[in-house]
């Protein structure tokens, strides 16, 4: 047996090696399945350090600055997205996240209605190797309450009134209106309609995601 092996030509040896590797490959499973592994400790630390989210105010500042190094992702349904979306957002319903249409090097900012779905999506994406994914703290609800319709209490001090100038301007910029709340704290349960209409045109410098990343031609 050893003698036959030794007497094999190079081509025959290559063929034998190919057969062996091919046979072993019978047990191979190269495509990642639906099951993902999560580093629980790492996730917990990130959450604790609050390194997993971005506040609506921060996002508003980014949009005003014209930053284009992140991709804003709206996880709600297409209909909800059409009704209103944060300027510069791209609609990727949660169900499409099984095959995320993002590169792993992109900075992703996810938001959903109240932040629950975006937090879940954050965990799933992180587990699949998207190390630069973040959620919008409080989701669209927080965006509406803090950025679009910031509230100034009637009994606010002069200092607080002055400090309210910036949020008020920001609100108007995005098509919202600053509100006045009565001292009794009874804020309106229904959000006022946006003055500028449903969709605010994003500032010209903001791209639909990381700029100037066009869809690369990867064919042959």
């Amino acid at each position: 047996m050893a003698r036959t092996l030794r007497n094999l030509t190079l081509n025959q040896r290559l063929g034998l090696a190919a057969f062996g590797l091919g046979a072993l490959a019978l047990f191979a499973n190269p495509l990642p399945g639906p099951v993902v592994a999560v580093d629980a400790q790492e996730m917990a630390l990130l959450v604790q350090r609050e390194a997993d989210h971005v506040t609506p105010q921060e996002l508003a500042a980014w949009i005003v600055e014209g930053r284009a190094d992140y991709r804003l992702v709206d996880l709600r349904s297409a209909k909800e997205f059409a009704d209103y979306s944060i300027p510069g957002a791209q609609n990727v319903p949660l169900t499409d996240l099984a095959q995320p249409p993002f590169d792993r090097s992109e900075k992703l900012l996810l938001y959903s209605q109240d932040g629950t779905h975006s937090s879940q999506a954050w965990l799933l994406l992180r587990a699949r190797g998207y190390r630069t994914a973040y959620t919008l703290n409080g989701g669209l609800d927080a965006w509406k309450n803090d950025v679009l319709f910031p509230t100034l209490r009637e009994d606010a001090s002069a200092e607080e009134k002055a400090a309210f100038q910036k949020p008020a301007e920001l609100a108007r910029y995005f098509g919202g209106t600053p509100r006045l709340a009565s001292a009794a704290g009874a804020t309106a349960t229904e959000l006022p309609r946006l003055t500028a209409g449903a969709a605010v045109a994003p500032p010209p410098t903001v791209g639909g995601g990381p700029a100037p990343r066009r869809k690369k031609k990867e064919g042959c």
Binding site: N11, L14, P212, R214, K216, K217, E218, G219, C220
Partner: protein, 192 residues
């Protein structure tokens, strides 16, 4: 000389004479060359997340060249337009274009090492150089159209898609062999 060559018929002796025309050192063991190619392809997968290609580089080059004379038409053309990109980068700063330039370079190195450089019109003994050049052009035209329909050529579809078990690539590859074997019969006078 020409008549002497034309007198060579399709006999074993004649074919051997043709074989003796080969220039330079003998070629590498095909299996070893294939392993080398396969490893290059694998490195493209691992480093870039994409495979090899060639026809795409031609599309980019054509789009760029035409945009010098008829930019509006190219930009509006559904097939060539995308190869111009969105204007943020030069169409020739394209992965495939650089890869194809590498093919020229790598082949040059290998060929010079083997002493296989020789200015000639490769053809069989029974056809003239100009006829061969004409047929080469015709073949190229069909190749161009075929690669456009197929979204690639043997490098991109057969090699790359083949190793990735891409369904369309295997279909394409089988059809290439079928078409080639069939057509070869009809142009055999060009080569033998």
């Amino acid at each position: 000389m020409a008549t002497a060559v034309q007198e060579i018929t399709e006999t074993r002796a004649g074919a051997h004479a043709a074989a003796a025309e080969r220039v330079g050192a003998p070629y590498m063991n095909p299996y070893l060359a294939g392993i080398g190619l396969g490893l290059v392809l694998l490195s493209a997968f691992v480093v870039m997340g994409r495979g090899l290609g060639a026809s795409g580089a031609i599309n980019s080059t054509l789009a760029w060249a035409l945009s010098k004379v008829a930019p509006a038409w190219v930009a509006g053309n559904e097939f060539l337009g995308p190869y111009l990109g969105d204007g943020s980068t030069h169409p020739l700063k394209d992965w495939l274009v650089f890869e194809v330039m590498g093919i020229y370079a790598g082949a040059l190195v290998s060929g010079l090492l083997a002493g296989r450089f020789k200015v000639m019109v490769e053809r069989g003994p029974r056809i003239s150089a100009s006829a061969r050049l004409g047929l080469a052009f015709a073949g190229g035209t069909m190749t161009g159209i075929g690669a456009a329909f197929g979204r690639g050529c043997t490098s991109g579809q057969a090699l790359t898609g083949g190793s990735l078990l891409n369904l369309g690539s295997w279909i394409f590859m089988i059809c290439v062999f079928a078409g080639a074997y069939t057509a070869a019969y009809f142009v055999r006078r060009q080569w033998r």
